[in-house]
């Protein structure tokens, strides 16, 4: 085990927040980023079978306890705050479709979404406003945060359960697009109420 690995191990252990490769490199002074990356990988491997794991969540690294020990550690600990079903669904829709406007969320759920639901998600730090869509009305669009990936144990958005299949089967496409696809070529030019969502490229490694 080299000094860099030791230093990274100690820094991540002591840090109050997950740290990115950049943050680690600059914190450790003269460390080169590729070296930091390699050291992180080596460390993650070392810890793989231990009671503590070193994990990457949204490009940031932190130590956490091994998931299989949850039953031991869960007792006496405060339960994670329960999300309402509505909030859970809205969060999933944002995560799988991001960035997405409230109207788009509502069109998928078939029901109005109360502002409170989005507030809860933003307060939890899992959802943030990601700007406005440049269409008439300039609706606010929402996206997930690194804390979201952190909390749900996802390395990146590509880790979202089943997202590849959902994409492949077109279940993330707006209904009208899917309909046109099914009909072969779209004979009737239908207005797309939900414009094509731009894929968030920030976490495409």
């Amino acid at each position: 085990m080299n000094q860099l690995e030791r230093a990274i191990e100690a820094a991540l252990f002591a840090a109050e927040e997950p740290m990115s490769v950049d943050a680690l490199a600059s914190f450790l002074g003269d460390a080169e980023k590729p070296d930091v990356r390699n050291a992180l990988k080596a460390l993650a491997e070392t810890y793989e079978k231990r009671g503590i794991h070193l994990v990457e969540r949204g490009k940031r690294w932190h130590f956490e306890t091994a998931p299989d020990l949850a039953h031991l550690l869960r007792k006496e600990r405060e339960q994670v705050r329960r999300l309402s079903r509505a909030a859970t669904e809205v969060l999933a829709i944002i995560a799988y479709h991001e960035p997405v406007s409230r109207a788009e969320i509502e069109s998928i759920r078939g029901v109005q979404t109360s502002g409170g639901t989005l507030d809860v998600l933003m307060e939890a730090g899992w959802v943030k406003i990601a700007g406005r869509r440049e269409v008439p009305g300039r609706p606010t669009i929402y996206a997930t945060t690194p804390e979201f990936l952190d909390h749900f144990g996802l390395t990146s958005r590509r880790d979202l359960p089943g997202i590849a299949e959902l994409k492949a089967t077109g279940l993330l496409d707006p209904v009208d697009d899917a309909y046109d696809d099914l009909m072969g070529e779209g004979e009737e030019e239908e207005p797309h109420e939900a414009p094509e969502v731009e894929e968030d490229s920030t976490d495409a490694a």
């Binding site: 309402s84 079903r85 759920r109 749900f152």
Partner: protein, 267 residues
């Protein structure tokens, strides 16, 4: 996507995160159940009904679904339950869809009932996919529930250090400044050729006592005085004259503006 993958029953443990609605868990299919408060809108109810058909949503019979929904709304009405407007709107729309689907094709208007049914099906698929995804998301290893962070991290110390700058010149200049500022100050008051008001008052009243004639102010000034003393004497004598006039000891006269000011004793 393999059949049924999206709509297998979500694992039981997920329901702990679902806020008391848990349609799948609490519902006995055979019993009459009405949970309109629990369903978030008609689409939700439709999806639940569709899942009861236990087939892939892509093969669901929209007609059967429509009938179930309408039955359902009817039952609710029979029980005199308050129905949210959007449930009734959906019921009306579905009733229309149903009738359109039962009519011969030629009489259909655009959009065709097939299109409407297909789109409804697509919507249900999407909602179902998201519901499934939400369940799997909540079932992941969540911090604080499945995995835990360090209990009390020391934190990384960031020590702010100031690199103070100063140079020799600034130092010496500062010392010079202090020395100059605090050197014992000896104030040399220069002597100035002035005639005070008191001496002017004495002088003018003495000179007035000599005669009863009008005298010009100028005549009271000391002769051969240097110009600066003369200026001071003029000012002081003028004030002295005013003072004597105020006390009633002298009269002042001036024939024209800026003319010579004359002074005499009051008899």
């Amino acid at each position: 996507m393999s059949d049924g993958v999206l709509f297998t029953d979500p694992p039981q443990e997920e329901s702990e995160d679902w806020d008391g609605i848990a349609a799948e868990a609490t519902v006995d299919t055979d019993a009459l159940y009405l949970e309109l408060d629990g369903w978030e809108g008609p689409l939700d109810l439709l999806l639940d009904l569709a899942r009861r058909q236990k087939v892939d949503l892509r093969e669901i019979s929209i007609l059967a679904l429509v009938e179930q929904y309408l039955d359902y709304i009817e039952q609710a009405e029979a029980l005199k339950l308050e129905l949210a407007a959007d449930y009734l709107v959906m019921a009306a729309w579905l009733a229309y869809l149903k009738s359109a689907m039962l009519l011969p094709k030629e009489e259909q208007e655009d959009p065709s009932p097939e299109e409407l049914a297909l789109k409804l099906q697509l919507r249900l698929q999407r909602l179902g996919a998201m519901r499934e995804a939400a369940g799997r998301l909540m079932g992941g290893d969540r911090i604080g529930r499945d995995v835990f962070l360090r209990g009390s991290p020391e934190g990384l110390d960031i020590v702010r250090k100031t690199n103070w700058q100063c140079d020799q010149f600034a130092l010496i200049e500062a010392y010079g400044r202090v020395k100059a500022r605090t050197a014992p100050a000896v104030h040399m008051v220069r002597e100035r050729p002035v005639m005070t008001l008191e001496s002017a008052l004495d002088r003018v009243s003495n000179m007035l006592g000599v005669t009863l004639e009008w005298m010009e102010l100028r005549d009271f000034l000391p002769p051969h005085a240097e110009p600066r003393l003369r200026k001071s004497a003029l000012a002081s004598s003028f004030v002295a004259a005013l003072e004597l006039a105020r006390l009633g000891k002298a009269e002042i006269a001036q024939d024209e503006v800026f003319g010579p000011m004359k002074l005499r004793r009051v008899a």
